[in-house]
């Protein structure tokens, strides 16, 4: 294992040496009160759970407590279950069973009492106990003033590790406490659970735990603020440790040797190195640049100043930056980057590959390939025990299928009980059923194809999930929309009537266009389409009817072809045949001429017409705009869009400046994932709103409209012209990597080979006659069992997960303890 961990271990084992000299016990001790109190030793912490002797032997709490024995022992804290027997009344023994509590003693002084429900799991137990013991090392605060006071007090003296966790006792809290146990004497730990405090520091995503390193030791001027570095990894003991390690490393190092040979603690931690190439002449300026870069990359990469003049190896003449990845054997990259932002973005886009290198004598293991990394599978699995109100949908079987779909208009969900995607969609389907409960004429049904395979095959269902609508006298229709509640609900609601609707009078047509006619439906289809035909246009009408049928469930379509159709076409300045498009939200009616076209062309025309000029882009509608294959011009807005911006962009649209682009805006309130998109484009995040041009389909460059300019037409036009002329620099380029397998698979073929070669070395080659076969079989069999018994460790792709890490850590603890005893 990398040397990075050893400090951590030494730290812990140091504590252990001082405070831990009880024999290691893995399981929970059970003692009588008298016995228990006799074991307490001065200065030594002990957690005891008092319970009635006749209470059940096992409970959830006891299981968790049992699990906490090991980790607490590692911190020198013993754990015991004290059985309150009648003869020995102790005041810690509660009167009733449910009043039992756990008590933390130091020596024989009572430090804290815990109701068992605060110690809800092993994390809570460890967190609470350490929290009580490290009362001085970890300051708990609730407001900004407290934080400022601590900050001021420590300026020039010590650094602060400030963390916010959602609640006391959760795993993040435990991680912070474990770190405090090791580093509490070096750094001042400050903890809060107040979300407002975190917000006042300007943090994003406040629902997550946060950890900041306040660089206060460097601050000499008391009016100056301490610099802060946010830890970006999730809060775990190990991440915190690694983070602190990088904070401790020198900010900037000067080197004058071959970058290929240079190694710092960063490389061992899996972080890359950035060398800023400097020459004598520009040394001062380079150093300033390098320091600035170093602050920006703190915790992400190591930054070094490479002195070219005193260097023996050659580096390319123009290169001003050298990038060294953490992996061994990867050659360094020589780069020419003229902007510090480019250095930052280069690092950020190249650090996914980082990997802690294996130490030769310590086998570091890869990520666990047995751990689920499919978000759908994982969430469905986690949700498996929740009972869905499935009774709202009718479960079909082979016997009932035909009768049901013949008898009533039905929606059938074909799914497979073992398939995660199916089961995720089933939840949306059930949600729809809940929403429609008692109101729909459509029967919602489902059939599990894992059971009724033949029915599904007969219905031509070969993949899952599939949703089909069965209406009397019509061919079944497969649903082709988003697999989610909203779109499915729309599909079902719009299908209450059949399309295209036959409109028979001018008045009805006007009602239809105004949205009056289908008032209850237009909330599902913001556009109504009306085809206008003179009565003789039979083929055109047929084509339109077919198109209307294809579009059913997605948009409302109607047809008007009475003798007086000209009245309508004249009114809306359309020449027959034509489509009228009523946009209900905007109250506008457009007309589109319909030259002789086939049904699929009409579908395309309508689909295109549904697109807006300047839409709010959402998870649901992105695909319809994405397929236009144009660069997206996105205005990111925190909340509703400023009408002035909207007006500016719409003006540009009308003036045809944006024809080659898809202008849109994104409301971060409605689409919170937009924040993660912004973070991929920017570092640091600029103030909102921000306008970006993303060239998704060719090159992946992202350009940002300068945030110091106002979003007004003139500025936009100028910017667009500069873009076109290639005068603007992109802020980042979207990664173009292919989607490769996230993790390797078990290589059974080589495992089999390894087993065979082991086997064949033992076997003496000989001519085999048929009679020998049996004998040989036997031999192989024996060999195989031999193979089975040998450790196949080398064949396995080993596991690396949390429990293993702790096991590893424990191993080393024990090792350290052995050393202790020898010293003692």
């Amino acid at each position: 294992m990398s040397s990075g961990f050893s400090v951590f271990r030494v730290g812990i084992s140091f504590v252990i040496m001082c405070s831990f000299y009880m024999p290691t016990v893995d399981s929970l001790l059970e003692l009588s009160p008298q016995k228990y109190f006799s074991t307490l030793q001065p200065g030594k912490a002990s957690l005891a759970y008092f319970c009635q002797a006749d209470s059940p032997r096992t409970s959830v709490f006891l299981e968790e407590l049992n699990e906490a024995v090991r980790p607490l022992q590692d911190y020198g804290i013993s754990v015991a279950k004290v059985n309150c027997v009648k003869e020995e009344i102790s005041r810690y023994c509660g009167k009733e069973k449910d009043l039992m509590k756990a008590y933390l003693f130091k020596g024989n002084i009572l430090l804290r009492e815990f109701p068992t429900d605060t110690l809800f799991d092993v994390n809570a137990i460890v967190a609470h106990v350490l929290f009580a013991l490290l009362f001085n090392e970890v300051k708990y605060i609730t407001n900004l003033e407290d934080l400022q006071n601590i900050e001021n007090a420590l300026k020039g003296k010590a650094n602060i590790i400030f963390s916010y966790v959602r609640a006391i006792g959760i795993p993040e809290h435990r991680a912070v406490m474990e770190a405090a146990f090791v580093y509490g004497t070096t750094y001042q730990f400050v903890l809060t659970t107040e979300i407002a405090l975190l917000e006042s520091l300007g943090s994003e995503d406040v629902e997550y735990a946060h950890l900041y390193f306040f660089h206060c030791k460097l601050v000499l001027d008391l009016t100056q603020q301490c610099r802060r570095t946010l830890m970006e990894q999730p809060l775990t003991t190990l991440n915190i440790h690694l983070f602190i390690k990088t904070m401790k490393a020198p900010l900037l190092t000067e080197v004058a040797e071959d970058p290929q040979q240079v190694s710092t603690v960063h490389l061992q931690l899996g972080l890359p190195l950035v060398f800023i190439v400097s020459q004598q002449a520009t040394y001062e300026a380079d150093r300033r640049t390098a320091e600035w870069v170093a602050w920006r990359l703190l915790g992400k990469a190591g930054v070094l100043l490479l002195l070219r003049d005193s260097l023996e190896v050659n580096i390319p003449q123009h290169a001003n930056v050298v990038f060294k990845r953490a992996e061994k054997g990867v050659p360094v990259e020589f780069l020419v980057l003229h902007d510090v932002d480019l250095i930052i973005s280069h690092v950020e886009h190249n650090t996914h590959i980082e990997e802690i290198q294996e130490d030769e004598d310590d086998d570091m293991e890869g990520p666990d390939i047995d751990v689920q990394d499919d978000e759908v599978a994982e969430t469905v699995f986690r949700d498996r025990k929740r009972k869905l109100p499935l009774e709202l949908t009718v479960e079909l079987t082979e016997e009932t299928f035909n009768a049901t779909v013949m008898a009533s208009d039905s929606i059938v969900l074909f799914y497979a009980g073992w398939q995660a995607v199916s089961m995720a969609f089933l939840q949306s389907y059930v949600d729809v059923a809940v929403k429609l409960k008692g109101t729909s004429t459509m029967l919602l049904t489902r059939i599990n194809c894992a059971d009724w395979s033949d029915v599904c095959t007969k219905q031509n269902v070969t993949e899952f999930p599939i949703l089909k609508m069965y209406k009397k006298g019509e061919n079944p229709v497969s649903y082709a929309g988003m697999l989610g509640t909203k779109d499915l609900l729309k599909f079902i609601q719009l299908n209450r009537i059949s399309y295209p609707v036959n409109i028979t009078s001018i008045q009805e047509a006007e009602e239809y266009l105004s949205g009056e006619l289908y008032k209850d439906l237009i909330s599902y289809s913001s556009v109504s389409v009306l085809g206008l035909f003179s009565p003789t246009m039979t083929t055109a009408k047929e084509d339109f009817s077919e198109a209307g049928n294809d579009l059913k469930g997605y948009v409302i379509t109607g047809i008007y072809s009475e003798e007086d159709v000209l009245l309508l076409s004249n009114k809306y300045a359309a020449s027959l045949p034509a489509l009228l498009l009523a946009r209900h939200t905007e109250g506008k009616i457009e007309s589109i001429p319909l030259a002789i076209t086939r049904a699929e062309d009409i579908v395309q025309i309508v689909t295109d017409a549904l697109l807006e000029m300047f839409p709010e882009i959402t998870v649901e509608n992105l695909p319809s705009y994405f397929r236009l294959q144009k660069p997206l011009l996105i205005l990111f807005s925190d909340g509703s869009i400023n009408p002035q911006y909207k007006k500016a962009i719409l003006t540009l649209v009308k003036q045809k400046y944006l024809d080659s682009l898809t202008p849109c805006w994104l409301n971060l309130k409605n689409t919170p994932v937009g924040r993660r998109i912004l973070r991929a484009y920017f570092d640091p995040l600029p103030p909102l709103p921000v306008l970006v041009l993303v060239n998704l389909h060719s090159g992946g460059q992202v350009f940002a409209f300068p945030s110091d300019q106002a979003i007004i037409e003139e500025n936009l036009v100028l910017w667009l012209k500069k873009l076109e002329a290639g005068l603007e620099n992109h802020i980042t380029i979207l990664p173009a990597q292919e989607w490769k397998p996230p993790l390797p698979a078990y290589d059974f073929l080589s495992m089999m080979d390894a087993a065979t070669s082991q086997h064949s070395t033992r076997k003496i080659p000989k001519c085999m006659k048929e009679t020998d076969v049996q004998e040989n079989d036997k031999e192989q069999h024996e060999d195989k069992s031999a193979v089975r018994k040998e450790p196949i460790e080398t064949l396995r792709i080993k596991h690396w997960n949390r429990s293993n890490w702790f096991k590893e850590a424990e191993k080393s603890f024990r090792h350290d303890k052995e050393l202790c005893s020898k010293v003692n």
């Binding site: 997550y208 978000e375 949700d383 998870v619 292919e738 996230p742 192989q780």
Partner: protein, 684 residues
């Protein structure tokens, strides 16, 4: 002609006469397909031909289908299980445990409607086969014994020749394709001195009364021998059983043709020293002598040859004369031969070149893995007689096996003669894992015909889609393109079911400790029947198939995956079964086959130039999977998936593999983009 010229008025009747006489005189009736035998295999083939609307005829010697079962097994108990309840509704799955039904679309034609017995009576089978033929309206010519089959070369014929069948009445039938489903009908007789003293299984009394107080020697050690012994075990003095090789128990060999536990009562009494016994010796070395009292003595052929002919039994040397503890020194009252059956080669003309196989398969005609005779094109062997393909390996000699191989032959014929490609489903690559999981969990053909029929997945260009072919005879893998009409240009997967390599065998202890494997990383050591997936970059050649490694059903693949054996044969565990399978497929195809919620696809669409297949084939086509509130909650809560939480961290996080957990955080986490697979691919 003279007639018509002389009397024009007679013309019409004369012409009618000529037409009526025409077939009888010149061209015999011609069929595209002729099926010999209306047993289970013949009827099964007739069913497929009928469904496909082909021109066919079945010829059956008896007046009703399944004549074999009217007499055999002699003691009327079938040893093919009739499992009526499995706890599952899936009809395809249930066929895994239904050994008697033929395949059809008609649910009424399932054997469980014909018998309630777990080991049903043979009469129910006869009734079932009769109903099968009648209900489906299969074209069977009963009471027609085909006495002779010969070949007529004709360049216009499908196969360059017609098969000419002559029945007992001299009626001739001409067939383009001949499908022989006559089973094994000739009792196997071993020739040795005294073999005339031996009674055959086919005719021996089945009344236990006839065996009271007798010493009985049974030759043979198959199910018929034990069935015979079982019947008389309680009334004889003792029964000795003699055969060349040691007894093979089907629960040790996993071969249903070996001795089934239902028949092995005698083993029990032998091992408990109840006078019954088993002996091993080659029958061809023996001789049986009848002494003056009509008792039979076992001796060696060698002694018989020493002595001059015509000597009385009493004078010939017996083994016990030299070796007084010779096991078979007691005289027997009866010797019964239960040595199985052979294929009836006698009706086939030499020109057909229908020969018997080698040492092991002497009783079977020699055929290819496509069930076509090696001697003449267009002649296929179906049913029990086709068992040489998988003798002592799989179930091809039994109804629950050959009903699938018959279907495979029919699919080959459909392509060869009617340009109907092997049925296949084309699906997007995102359905790859699911389609395999579905099949390995329900397919009965894969399960029954393990090692013989396997599913094949043919990848399309760029591996964005695939075709799924079911139950292809894997020994013909090299000829897949010509046999199926499908193209295998971009790599393929083969899904086979296998027992552990060294698990099965007559001398194996199949109950050893640690016989089952539970960990996915040990899946390759699985012993019980489990799915194995082979990946080939290119279709293997005939050479590669023929010279494949010993004990391998297929040539060495580019990569292999074992789905770990499962006690319930339910391979749907998300972590134990599906996840490792997905990783295997991903690494073969060098892509990411995970599924993503629409929100993740949205993020990828705006922050990457490329999208994973699931987002391409779903989300971008406006069919993204939108997560519900509770699932979204789990996504946030699951710390494994923190990166995909709606308000998650930055892009680096999102690209990280969710499985990296928090311990090593970013450093250990090769993201889908970052993962360098080159090294791994080379290993593969």
């Amino acid at each position: 002609m003279g007639l018509s010229a002389a009397a024009p008025l007679w013309g019409p009747p004369g012409l009618l006469l000529a037409i009526a006489l025409h077939p009888a005189l010149s061209v015999p009736p011609r069929r595209d397909y002729c099926v010999l035998g209306a047993g289970p295999a013949g009827l099964q083939m007739a069913y497929f031909l009928q469904r496909a609307g082909r021109d066919y005829e079945v010829f059956e010697r008896a007046p009703r289908p399944g004549s074999f079962f009217t007499r055999y097994p002699r003691h009327r108990k079938l040893i093919s299980i009739n499992k009526r309840y499995t706890g599952k509704a899936n009809a395809e799955f249930n066929l895994r445990h239904d050994w008697n039904s033929l395949l059809s679309h008609d649910r009424r034609l399932l054997f469980r409607h014909y018998s309630r017995a777990y080991f049903p009576d043979a009469r129910d089978m006869v009734r079932y086969l009769g109903d099968f033929a009648d209900t489906l309206g299969l074209r069977v010519q009963y009471n027609t014994t085909i006495a002779h089959v010969t070949l007529d070369k004709d360049r216009r014929a499908w196969n360059g020749h017609y098969f000419i069948l002559t029945d007992q009445k001299g009626q001739v039938h001409q067939c383009s394709v001949l499908l022989v489903a006559t089973g094994l009908s000739v009792p196997n007789q071993v020739d040795f001195p005294g073999s005339e003293n031996v009674e055959g299984y086919e005719s021996v009394s089945i009344d236990p009364e006839d065996f009271i107080g007798q010493n009985v020697l049974i030759l043979g050690r198959g199910n018929s021998a034990f069935e015979t012994a079982e019947n008389i075990l309680g009334v004889t003095n003792f029964i000795h059983m003699l055969s060349r090789s040691r007894v093979r128990l089907s629960w040790a060999t996993h071969y249903v043709g070996d001795l089934r536990a239902i028949n092995n009562g005698l083993l029990d009494t032998y091992q408990l020293k109840s006078l019954d016994g088993l002996l091993e010796s080659d029958l061809r070395d023996l001789a049986i002598l009848k002494d003056s009292k009509g008792k039979f003595h076992v001796t060696l052929k060698f002694f018989l040859e020493e002595a001059s002919t015509n000597q009385s039994a009493d004078a010939i040397t017996l083994p016990q004369d030299d070796n007084d503890n010779f096991a078979m020194r007691v005289p027997y009252d009866r010797v019964i031969r239960c040595l199985g059956w052979n294929f009836d080669f006698s009706i086939f003309n030499k020109s057909l070149r229908l020969n018997s196989g080698n040492a092991f398969g002497k009783k079977y005609p020699l055929i290819r893995a496509s069930y076509e005779s090696k001697g003449s094109r267009g002649l296929f062997i179906l049913g029990t007689a086709s068992h040489s393909v998988d003798y002592r390996k799989s179930a091809g000699g039994f109804i629950h096996g050959f009903r699938y191989t018959v279907r495979a032959v029919h699919r080959l014929l459909e392509h060869r003669h009617h340009s109907v490609a092997w049925p296949a489903t084309e699906l997007p690559i995102t359905q790859l894992t699911s389609s395999i999981v579905r099949r390995v969990n329900e397919a009965s053909g894969l399960y029954q015909m393990f090692g013989v029929l396997a599913d094949v997945i043919l990848l399309k260009e760029n591996a964005m889609a695939f075709e799924y072919l079911e139950e292809f005879p894997i020994q013909m893998l090299a000829q897949l393109e010509t046999l199926t009409g499908r193209k295998a240009r971009h790599g393929l997967f083969v899904i086979n079911m296998e027992y552990g390599r060294n698990f099965s065998g007559p001398d194996k202890d199949v109950f050893f400790d640690d016989r089952s494997v539970g960990h996915t990383e040990d899946a390759w050591q699985s012993n019980f029947l489990h799915p194995v997936i082979y990946y080939y970059r290119y279709l293997p050649t005939e050479q590669e198939v023929r010279f494949r490694p010993a004990h391998w059903p297929l040539p060495r693949p580019t990569a292999i995956h074992h789905i770990v054996e499962d006690f319930l044969t339910d391979w749907t565990a998300p972590i134990g079964h599906i996840l490792p399978l997905r990783r295997f497929l991903e690494n073969c195809l060098d892509t990411d086959l995970r599924s993503f919620y629409a929100e993740s696809c949205f993020l990828f669409a705006l922050t990457r130039q490329k999208l994973p297949p699931f987002c391409q084939q779903g989300y971008l086509r406006m069919q993204g999977l939108v997560s519900t509130e509770s699932l979204r909650q789990h996504r946030v809560e699951s710390r494994l998936l923190r990166d995909d939480a709606p308000m998650g961290r930055d892009l680096e996080d999102s690209s990280q593999h969710p499985g990296d957990q928090e311990l090593l955080g970013a450093p250990l986490a090769p993201g889908p983009l970052a993962q360098s697979l080159d090294s791994n691919k080379e290993e593969l």
